[in-house]
């Protein structure tokens, strides 16, 4: 175990704070003392080469992976050991790599599952099919329709996801995450497979989620990440190697080295914008 001074979280009551998190799978250290903070209204990009620990970091926050040490807090309350099924009720929503939609459920049903946070009826009542559960159904449907409308998906509510173009499926997945009206929105590779126009739409959308929502996104598409994010955190081999505003971070020698390798960095003599090709 490393010994280091525990840092004070930067954020106060609001926001997410990840402090000195260590995760290892067998002998491999996936995260080695990673600390990250996101405040409400901020868009944080987490970037890094493949295998740097980006998705592991997301999985730790979501409770899929339990860290060996370190602490997580959300809105000033500890988040370590919280069951994934409770996240939505805490206002944390996450999209998955690819689309992660339920193939056998319609678009509307998919998004209604995302709105479960607003369900009121308890299980025994729901099983008896009592009127409360009916009202619940309507409430979820309304919420889902609002979220779908916000993303311009009103026309496809009754379709199965598999019959829609990929970009539309990605929008539905985002609608599903937004349907729980999250305070923390975690996007895992939101730009994957989108063309330039769709990317700019996605960028506008992320910019419009509101000043009370913290956004945390992982992506390889450097231009997109730089244009959308307020701040970047760069991971390499499970460590944070840079943390700051996008224009500074993309010039950081350590970042260029992590992305391009030492030789290439020397050869290219830190040619500006060199990291853009890193996702290829």
């Amino acid at each position: 175990m490393e010994t280091r001074e525990p840092r004070e979280p930067l954020t106060g009551a609001g926001g997410l704070s990840v402090l000195d998190v260590v995760v290892s799978f067998g002998g491999i250290r996936a995260l080695e003392g990673v600390s990250v903070e996101v405040s409400p209204g901020e868009v944080l990009g987490v970037i890094g080469p493949n295998g740097a620990g980006k998705t592991t970091l997301f999985n730790v926050i979501c409770g899929f992976v339990r860290p060996q040490s370190g602490t997580l807090s959300w809105g000033g309350k500890p988040l370590t050991g919280v069951h994934p099924a409770r996240l939505a009720s805490l206002g944390i929503a996450r999209t998955l790599q690819g689309v992660g939609l339920f193939g056998g459920l319609t678009v509307l049903e998919n998004v209604m599952v995302g709105a479960q946070r607003f369900r009121r009826a308890r299980l025994p009542l729901a099983m008896l099919g009592l009127p409360w559960s009916d009202a619940d159904e309507r409430r979820l449907r309304d919420r889902a329709l609002v979220a779908l409308g916000r993303l311009g998906c009103e026309d496809v509510v009754d379709r199965l996801p598999g019959t829609l173009p990929y970009a539309v499926q990605k929008r539905v997945a985002l609608a599903r995450a937004l349907a729980c009206e999250p305070e923390l929105l975690m996007l895992d590779e939101p730009a994957g497979g989108l063309d330039a126009r769709e990317l700019s739409e996605l960028g506008d959308l992320i910019g419009s989620v509101g000043s009370s929502v913290a956004v945390m996104l992982v992506d390889h598409h450097m231009d997109f990440v730089v244009s959308v994010c307020d701040r970047l955190v760069v991971l390499d081999f499970g460590r944070v190697i840079a943390d700051g505003d996008p224009s500074t971070v993309r010039q950081d020698p350590r970042v260029l080295e992590a992305y391009l390798g030492r030789e290439a960095v020397q050869d290219d003599a830190l040619r500006s914008g060199g990291a853009e090709d890193a996702h290829a």
Binding site: F64, G103, G104, L105, E109, M112, V113, L123, A126
Partner: protein, 292 residues
């Protein structure tokens, strides 16, 4: 012609029971990807409980309700105690677990109630309807059976298609991890799925008991035929299970009437083999294919 009508009517009423058993198997397969070989033993236990209630209270309705309630409880207990530990284990573990549970329940029933089959009361008369001079092979009790199964199938359809609980159950069945991330208590959905399935099986047990008698092994043939019906319907689709049950009921009724009842088990297995050879996903499978 009268014989054909008789066999058709008989096929529909036995088909309704196969449909109920198939529904019980399909509900569990959908939610946990387990073929519940213990289903026959579970519905045997609940039918014995119903028999005890009917004998002591004299009320068939009370016995029926207690059978459904004890089915719900038994299903939930089995899921929590026996299924949970094998959930993320290799599929063979679950198969062995359900076979073990079958053996256990049959042995326990034999110890409590004895191995001699006993009679079980029917809800309504077992005397066929009279049309003109002939008695049809369709009784008021058959009418009751068909109506109850239809009611349960419709109720399940409403639950799955029209309520938020059903939506969560379907989401949990399609992609448990994703559902969990969206706030669905997947474990609880599995418990509800097993409870509903066992209640459905309990209903089938009470409906079929008057014709097969009640003993620890009485329901084994029904379970095998119910399994064939479930596969026929795609193993994944509740409407498929109902249609599969009725189609199989009709087919086996014709075989029994025209060729002899000794051929019924053979015919059921022949149909199973043919379906698996020609359309392994079943006739009405909701999902086109599922690759693991």
């Amino acid at each position: 012609m009268t014989k054909f009508i008789d066999l058709t009517l008989n096929g529909i009423s036995t088909g309704a029971i196969y449909a109920a058993v198939a529904l019980a198997l399909v509900l569990i397969w959908r939610s946990t990807r387990i073929v519940n070989f213990a289903q026959g033993a579970m519905l045997m236990i609940t039918t014995f409980i119903a028999s005890a209630v009917i004998n002591s209270s004299g009320s068939y309705v009370l016995g029926f309700v207690v059978a459904l309630a004890s089915g719900l409880v038994l299903g939930a207990i089995v899921e929590r105690v026996a299924v949970r530990p094998v959930e993320n284990a290799p599929p063979l573990n679950a198969v062995i677990m359900t076979l073990g549970l079958y053996t256990l329940l049959v042995a326990v029933a034999g110890m409590i109630w004895g191995n001699t089959p006993r009679s079980f009361p029917a809800a309504f008369s077992l005397r066929g309807y009279r049309v003109g001079a002939t008695n049809l092979l369709f009784t008021p009790n058959d009418t009751f059976t068909v109506l109850v199964v239809i009611a349960v199938a419709v109720a399940l359809a409403v639950l799955f298609r029209g309520t938020s609980l059903g939506l969560r159950m379907r989401a949990a069945a399609f992609a448990p991890e994703v559902a969990r991330l969206l706030g669905v208590r997947v474990g609880r959905m599995l418990t509800v799925g097993w409870a509903l399935a066992a209640a459905c099986g309990a209903m089938a047990g009470v409906l079929v008991a008057p014709s097969v008698f009640l003993g620890p092994n009485s329901f084994d043939p029904i379970l095998i035929i119910g399994f064939v019906a479930a596969v026929l319907g795609g193993l994944d689709s509740p409407p498929g299970a109902v249609i599969g049950g009725v189609v199989l009921g009709l087919a086996l009724s014709y075989v029994s009437g025209y060729e002899g009842s000794a051929l019924v088990p053979l015919a059921a297995l022949v149909i199973l083999v043919i379906v698996l050879m020609i359309r392994p996903t079943g006739l009405f499978s909701a999902t086109k294919e599922r690759r693991v």
